[in-house]
Symmetry: C2
Subunit: 249 residues, 2 copies
DNA sequence: CTGCGGCAAACTGTTGACAGCCTGCACTTG
DNA sequence: CAAGTGCAGGCTGTCAACAGTTTGCCGCAG
């Protein structure tokens, strides 16, 4: 045996990753990270052989990955013309907020009936972490804790809804790299978090749902007031897949 | 020229489809139809070269299509082992019902504020069509009209939510080919349709939302009472991707 | 100077082929 | 007779190459 099957290796950091994940899935993961990090901005053309060369693989896996990303809404493709990082319009962004509100409300309502003490403690710790981040004016820390909080919320709602929520969040990232978290917004947002947690802890499904929806609606409002209504951002982000532009090598 | 570009051919039934759609997208469409029609039942293994041979294409487009279907939740893949039509468990099916309820409620609420007379007329016509189908005991006719009704509902909610709803509906089809529409259920279901329409026509967003959610919840209840709670169906549909089974050609 | 037509480069779409892995059967051995 | 082992077959994962199309540029005519 080349590997001892008895002792469990907790860190999957080995080349047995290669044994379980296909190249296409790894490329997909990498491309998704590139898109969400902004390395591949919205509207950017995806050159297959260039990506293949850069990632050290053939064009086959790249094409498969792109096809998957197309289905998940991060990429749009036109035959014989190429694939482009999807541009999300302002109206689409607003709709996505509504969808996320509905999903969050559902998850909160369910969580109000099924939450374990451990889950409540976890949510409470995250709220405190965000409170501390606000006090320290640590935007990135707040951002991370906020992501965790929402993930924990959705985790209680069900696996399918969780994946849906993540996908929608990714699409939103295409419009604006990161939601602007101003100090005032942080405070307001975290107050809503606390309200959600309180309703869940009280076991009040209706109130939890309303609080969850109100929180996302608040995020939508904050988003609108800072960015979306500006025509500049609108015009910039509503750009359709433009004509191919020859790259100078 | 082999084709006159002046006169607009309303039916796109030509081989210029080949000029706009890639083989991979056509294969994806075909596979999706096969899965939803039951020609490829849940748990079925997808043999790439067999599918390629059957569809008259190479394995490349088939692989790309399968990758897309994997992202949309219809297929699961295991490296070096193959792809399988996804099996949806009973609990997942119930969660999907909840998600669809939230989406439908959202669409109804928005529609209550934005519905045009034409949209209202269309919805009313569909309700009448279903009423007639119920009177004639025409299950398939009712089924089709029901699909149209919900599509029209979601269309008013936004394009993104519509696609989401369709995807979730497809996943539900994986659990049970078609929701059993018994005469009693048809009557009950269509009464809920009428309630939705009334709330939308009245412009009452809250009532419309509640009616929309109640309708899907009713469908979930009807689904549970007829099928899901039966342990047989549960065991059959919860099957995981099983070991490869050699096919006798 | 402007509009048009042809040409060449690049890129996508598709195919066929090769290597590695898993599976299942048959044989051997205790 | 049961359990383990070697072997052949099939299938997936990946790659390299070919054909078709689109695109951008250059030259030419008006």
């Amino acid at each position: 045996m080349e590997e001892d099957p008895i002792q469990p290796e907790s860190p999957p950091t080995a080349l047995d990753i290669v044994r379980t994940r296909s190249l296409a899935s790894l490329v997909s993961q990498e491309l998704e990270a590139m898109i969400l990090s902004g390395a591949l901005p919205a509207g950017e053309r995806l050159n297959e052989q260039q990506l293949a060369l850069r990632l050290g693989v053939s064009r086959g896996p790249v094409r498969e990955a792109v096809r998957g990303l197309e289905r998940s809404g991060l990429v749009v493709s036109v035959r014989n013309q190429g694939s482009y990082v999807r541009s999300v319009s302002a109206t689409e962004a607003l709709e996505i907020y509504d969808l996320r509100a509905a999903l969050t409300g559902l998850a909160c309502a369910r969580l109000a009936g099924t939450a374990t003490p451990a889950q409540l403690a976890e949510l409470g710790a995250l709220v405190q972490r965000m409170e501390a981040a606000w006090a320290a004016d640590a935007a990135t820390e707040y951002y991370a804790a906020n992501l965790d909080f929402h993930a924990a919320l959705l985790q209680g709602g069900g696996p399918r809804g969780q994946r849906l929520y993540e996908d929608l969040g990714n699409e939103l990232h295409l419009f604006r790299r990161r939601a602007l978290v101003e100090p005032q917004n942080m405070r307001e947002s975290n107050a809503e978090h606390a309200a959600i947690l309180a309703a869940i802890a009280a076991g009040d499904a209706l109130a939890a749902r309303a609080a969850g929806e109100a929180h996302i609606a608040g995020g939508k409002r904050r988003f609108q007031s800072t960015d979306a209504s500006r025509p500049a951002a609108l015009a910039q982000n509503a750009a359709s897949p433009r004509r191919r532009t020859r790259r100078s090598a």
